[in-house]
């Protein structure tokens, strides 16, 4: 595996995860993000899902897509 391609993902999503955790922790402190409320639980799920979605897109265009060529299945 070419680590020059992996380090950017580690850096982007590592620092990104820290930023997300800071934001969520700041929301939970003081009860503004109240997990007893369905709407707030949904927001938390969307935050995690969005993170994973962006990670999945980046992984596809790092480990799979560069190998696609004309005539091969996409």
């Amino acid at each position: 595996m070419n680590m020059l391609r992996v380090w950017p993902i580690v850096c982007e999503f590592g620092v990104g995860a820290l930023l997300c955790l800071v934001g969520i922790w700041c929301g939970l402190r003081g009860g503004y993000l109240d997990l007893k409320i369905a709407e707030d639980r949904r927001l938390l799920a969307i935050l995690v899902a969005g993170f994973l979605f962006v990670l999945a897109i980046v992984c596809v265009f790092t480990f799979l897509a560069p190998g696609w060529a004309s005539g091969e299945p996409l």
Binding site: E12, L19, G23, F51, F61, S70
Partner: protein, 611 residues
């Protein structure tokens, strides 16, 4: 840049027609502006989807098409990296920053800094933020000037002046409402044009597989190499754009703050940000970058000759029929106008709220401040124009990156620490902003000594990006170290201003305990009641209150039944004591509130509980 004009008369007619339509659109919505609240915040009544589209139009500047297409032509799909950074800022934005500024009714970043810290911090931040926004206006104007030079053969300055005059005119008349409504139109147009161009290219190449095969392998990665090439390395783009620029857009960009404050509720900000960052921004990334990818594929297929700077315009000219090319050029114009209008309106807001109102003419009438705001809009456009010659010396990407990396870190760090860390002190905030700015200034004098240690071995070519990392670390280190030796403000003074106290801000906003029980929207008919004049109260039947899970004193929002008005015809009111059964199916509202919302007697409206 190419020397002669391209495109035909039909293209220019389409572009001119578009220009006139947007101008007319903006001027029409000027009739909704009668106070500074309308001029700066559009009356705080808009729906999430309207603001999401307008945010995309604002974030996609005219430089975006040129800058990202040029990067796409040279480096491939990693040109979209800038748009992949936004999600990580979302929790801080929707759970901390927006609740604080919205519920504390804060109108600008400098105002927040004064309430959170002190007056001298506000003054320092005001100067830096004004410099940042005016510089941003200059970058946008020079991009369109250069594009019009390519297309029409005009002098760069002439194109910049024509555009600046048009934008300043509709901001002058319509303020934030005109900005939001024109940005909605422009956001749709730039997405349709960019994605349409991509679809046309896929059709031209006979499918995505054929297009993909024409790109070099190294152009097919989401990110470039970690520390190469120096002018477009992952780490350089990440620290300059992902941290400094995106953080600045989310937390210190007055244009975005005004957009967030235009929402009808904080709840809508969650939907708006998800739609903007997860749906519209990725589409915008493709729309703005695809010109470069297409041009690269056309060049590799032997169908086109171009360089990176002209790749977007050349690819569009190659693929589009006469008239359609004009529409794509209109999208370029849309991108410029939709960014510049927000910035001009933002400068005006900071000038009035942070300079004129507190220091030059306090306690004047709202009419006076509205007049000053309009004049400030014109001056902001003029100042942006004055910076055009300064930015002419660099590439668009270089000028934009250098500017944001140098200007944003100190204020961004001060806001970030201010909202997340109660212990962070006023003295530390001032030192962060002023000391950080001084250190960044010194990094231009001694770049090797100050930025060099952070360049990951890439050398001086990377300094314009890596200066952001130096600035963030230097400002952060100053802020944290000074905090430990100075006295923080008391917990009581910080209520509603830092993380952990957002619910206190909600209480202050409502003037009572927030009602967060979930309820439904109800449809009622208006009944004008002069007895309610001056109270901002509405009287609803008990059944409607029960359906909304609302109680007397709760904040409500009444709007037109047509959702596509996006809140243009709406009003915020408070629930009074429920009415008797005779009023079942109707909402008693004062004639003044009805006039604000453009409601008529007996009109059906939708009512929902805000909190």
């Amino acid at each position: 840049m190419i020397a002669q004009a391209i495109g035909g008369n039909l293209d220019y007619a389409v572009m001119l027609g578009y220009f006139v339509v947007v101008l007319g659109f903006g001027l029409y919505f000027g009739r909704y502006t009668s106070s500074t609240k309308d001029f700066f915040f559009g009356g705080q009544r808009f729906s999430w989807w309207l603001i999401a589209f307008s945010c995309v139009a604002t974030v996609v500047g005219s430089y975006s098409f040129i800058k990202y297409s040029a990067a796409g032509f040279s480096y491939g799909i990693c040109s979209t990296q800038s748009y992949l950074n936004d999600w990580f800022w979302m929790p801080i934005l929707v759970l901390v920053w927006i609740p604080i500024i919205y519920y504390r009714k804060i109108q600008s970043v400098p105002e927040y800094l004064e309430i959170r810290f002190d007056k001298k911090t506000r003054v320092a931040a005001t100067l830096i933020i004004l410099f940042y926004i005016v510089g941003y206006i200059g970058i946008n104007l020079i991009t369109l000037g250069r594009t019009l030079h390519t297309l029409l053969g005009w002098e760069v300055m002439t194109g910049a002046i024509v555009t600046a005059v048009a934008v300043a005119l509709y901001v002058y008349i319509g303020g934030q409402t005109a900005v939001i409504m024109t940005d909605l139109l422009q956001g749709i147009i730039l997405l349709v044009a960019g994605l349409g161009l991509f679809a046309a290219a896929i059709y031209h190449f006979g499918g995505f597989g054929n297009f993909w095969a024409l790109l070099p392998t190294e152009h097919k990665y989401a990110f470039s190499d970690f520390s190469a090439p120096p002018k477009f390395s992952f780490i350089g783009i990440y620290v300059q754009d992902g941290l400094a620029n995106t953080g600045a857009l989310m937390l210190m960009h007055q244009g975005f703050i005004m957009r967030f404050l235009s929402l009808k509720s904080v709840k809508d900000s969650r939907r708006m940000v998800v739609c903007w960052i997860l749906v519209l921004a990725p589409l915008a990334a493709i729309a703005t970058s695809c010109g470069g990818w297409i041009a690269r594929a056309l060049v590799n297929n032997g169908e086109l000759e171009t360089n990176a700077a002209d790749s977007f315009v050349k690819a569009a000219d190659f693929l589009c029929a006469p008239g359609v090319f004009g529409f794509v050029l209109a999208a370029l114009t849309a991108a410029l106008m939709s960014t510049a209008d927000s910035l001009i309106n933002a400068v005006s807001a900071i000038f009035v709220n942070d300079i004129w109102r507190p220091y030059i003419k306090p306690k004047s009438s709202d009419k006076h401040y509205l007049r000053v705001a309009r004049i400030a809009s014109l001056v902001a456009a003029g100042l942006g124009l004055a910076l055009v010659p300064v930015f002419m010396k660099d590439t668009i990407y270089g000028a934009h990156s250098m500017f944001t990396a140098a200007v944003t870190p100190p204020v961004l760090v001060a806001i970030f620490l201010g909202i997340t860390w109660k212990r962070y002190t006023p003295t530390a905030a001032f030192v962060t902003i002023v000391g950080g700015a001084v250190l960044i200034g010194l990094s231009f004098v001694w770049p090797d000594a100050l930025v060099g240690p952070f360049d990951f071995g890439m050398g001086p070519d990377s300094y314009k990006f890596m200066r952001a990392l130096f600035g963030l670390l230097a400002a952060g280190a100053l802020g944290i170290s000074v905090t430990w030796f100075t006295k923080p403000r008391s917990e009581e003074e910080l209520k509603g201003l830092v993380a952990g106290t957002q619910t206190d801000a909600m209480r202050q906003f409502k003037g009572g305990e927030p009602n967060r029980r979930s309820g439904s929207k109800v449809r009622l008919r208006t009944k004008l009641d002069p007895n309610l004049s001056g109270e901002d109260l509405v009287i609803l039947p008990q059944s409607a209150m029960d359906e909304m899970a609302a109680e007397p004193g709760d904040l409500l929002y009444a709007s037109h039944t047509r959702w596509w008005y996006g809140g243009l015809r709406s009003v915020h009111v408070k629930a009074g004591l429920p009415g008797d059964t005779e009023d079942s199916g109707s909402m008693r509202i004062s004639p003044q509130d009805a006039a604000t919302a453009h409601f008529t007697e007996g009109q059906e409206v939708v009512v929902e509980k805000i909190m």
